[in-house]
Symmetry: C2
């Protein structure tokens, strides 16, 4: 079998974020579910954009954020996702190229614009996301190249892929190729509302096809429809080789190899914006995993990367996160 030339290939919805501050009253007025990712159509996107404050535009998308983070730590990353050939699509492509992530997915030619996510950040640093999927709905199995998937030690997919109808077929195809080539399959549950929308399918995946699962507490409880985190830990430990469960300021818990590791959150002077926290946790963890770190150190690197992201606005690192690898501890 060919040696993998990449550490991780991520598959996700390719999105440009529009991030603005908002008052809590704005979320109430606009009937937005705080902390969640809600899908919106083009008309709603236009109306909400018109009502929200001045923003900054940053290329985003959960798995794309993770791959950029992984590349900036020094990992070899690839990405599959669908943008249009419009201005925002070019911004997305520029940014992921600039980070050194291999991104070869053909742009959409069908006319839908590049996806955008309107993100409102409240004073408590919580982010509320409203996604217009645009060109993402055109991602399909044809975008999954067997050689590209087989080139990665791990494939990483976001649960959000279950929202656009064609993407889950891409997801299934990629998972089958990875399995056939002896690669690891990892999944992030992405969002508790997303889990709610696609619970049966995600549960089947977790039980039978996912080697490494990322989820926060709300998401894992939603998946199993239970209220006890300890019980969720026990169940996920039976289904996945490894599970990394994040708990906000309480840090994370990593289950794997018959052990449970409790990892503290990285100290952060001031939490500014939690956008991208889960994405960068996964980036740090997967960098560690693909570089043969033990599981506790994988979790520590995830926590350090998440800590960097929440200390400022937006989901792109602002400092040299390659240095976090050394800070995560001795090999």
């Amino acid at each position: 079998m060919v040696q993998p030339s990449l550490d991780v290939v991520g598959i996700g919805n390719a999105i440009v974020d529009v991030i603005a501050h908002a008052e809590d009253s704005f979320l109430v007025d606009q009937a937005l579910a705080k902390g969640a990712m809600t899908l919106i159509d083009a008309a709603r996107a236009e109306a909400l954009y018109g009502a929200m404050g001045a923003g900054v535009e940053v290329s985003g998308g959960s798995a794309a954020n993770s791959m950029i983070g992984l590349a900036e730590m020094g990992g070899a990353a690839g990405y599959i996702g669908k943008v249009s050939d419009d201005v925002l699509g070019k911004v997305f492509r520029h940014d992921i190229d600039a980070a050194g992530v291999r991104f070869e997915t053909a742009p959409s030619a069908a006319g839908a614009p590049t996806a955008r996510c309107l993100i409102l950040v409240t004073a408590d640093a919580q982010r509320t996301m409203n996604t217009y999927l645009g060109a993402c709905v055109e991602l399909g199995p044809d975008d999954i190249d067997e050689e590209f998937i087989a080139a990665a030690k791990v494939i990483y997919m976001e649960g959000f892929l279950w929202d656009p109808p064609g993407a889950k077929q891409a997801f299934r195809k990629a998972q089958a190729i990875a399995a056939a080539n002896g690669r690891r399959v990892s999944l992030s549950l992405s969002d508790s509302f997303c889990v709610d929308r696609h619970r049966a399918e995600l549960l089947e995946l977790v039980e039978h096809h996912v080697d490494i699962l990322f989820a926060n507490e709300d998401e894992i409880l939603s998946l199993y429809q239970i209220e006890d985190f300890g019980e969720a830990l026990r169940q996920v430990g039976e289904h996945c080789e490894i599970a990394a469960l994040t708990r906000g300021e309480q840090g994370s818990v990593v289950v794997g190899g018959g052990e449970v590791h409790t990892i503290g959150a990285a100290p952060v002077a001031r939490v500014t914006d939690t956008t991208g926290a889960g994405d960068l946790y996964a980036a740090g963890f997967l960098y560690g995993f693909t570089h043969d770190f033990d599981l506790a150190r994988c979790g520590r690197l995830g926590a350090l990367a998440a800590g960097e992201i929440i200390s400022h606005f937006g989901a792109k690192p602002e400092s040299d996160i390659a240095q976090l690898v050394a800070a995560s501890g001795p090999p």
Copy 2:
């Protein structure tokens, strides 16, 4: 005479910034003049964008940044500048509208895209700007509405307006309307290289038409082609009713009413990105001036607003800068 309904109307190049971190070696490789604003054409913009790192897109433009800052402090602001009807033009329009700034300039229909400024921020927090003017070259006297100009206590214009050929005519028209209506005319010198390109015309303006001048140390020395800051102070005091001269971490000096006020820089825990420092200084100063603050307090408010901007990435305030008004001292 009609009472002014606006505090300040700004006129400037309407630009979307693309801001990215860069190594000093990148500036050397690309032959960029550190700290300066350099004009580039479309082909150079494409090549430089291709070479630079992942960025964030934020609507910018010097005078626009100032007007947004003024509005966020609670002032009544208007803006005149030329964007296209493209995606970035819509971003610019959304952001300035969202800040509550009156912006009624018709978009360009001639095909040039909305201007963009590629900004490289180095580890020393210095920003190096590369501007493709695009639709800004179409700003002209027809965009200056007499009623709009006469509605403001002060008009504020950026020296960068002398780069596109038609804008200086717009600038002259606005200045004449303001003068005829008994309004104050203020000008920022913008950039020492810009002063170099247009010294004779800017000098004539400063000597005869500008009431309130904003400049940093390099710019004022370049204007008078001298090396002694004290001598520059003396000369500008003879030409303008008020001059506010900024000196980076040394604070600023305000000359006016026969007095010289020395203002300390606001304490900043960590200077991250100096983009927008001068713009927000002018915003704070003009908020104070149009609310009858004494000159020292105008300078303190300018310093506080500049301090907010340099503590993070980008030229848009990230905290509630309305509170800076109270922090600037007793009335």
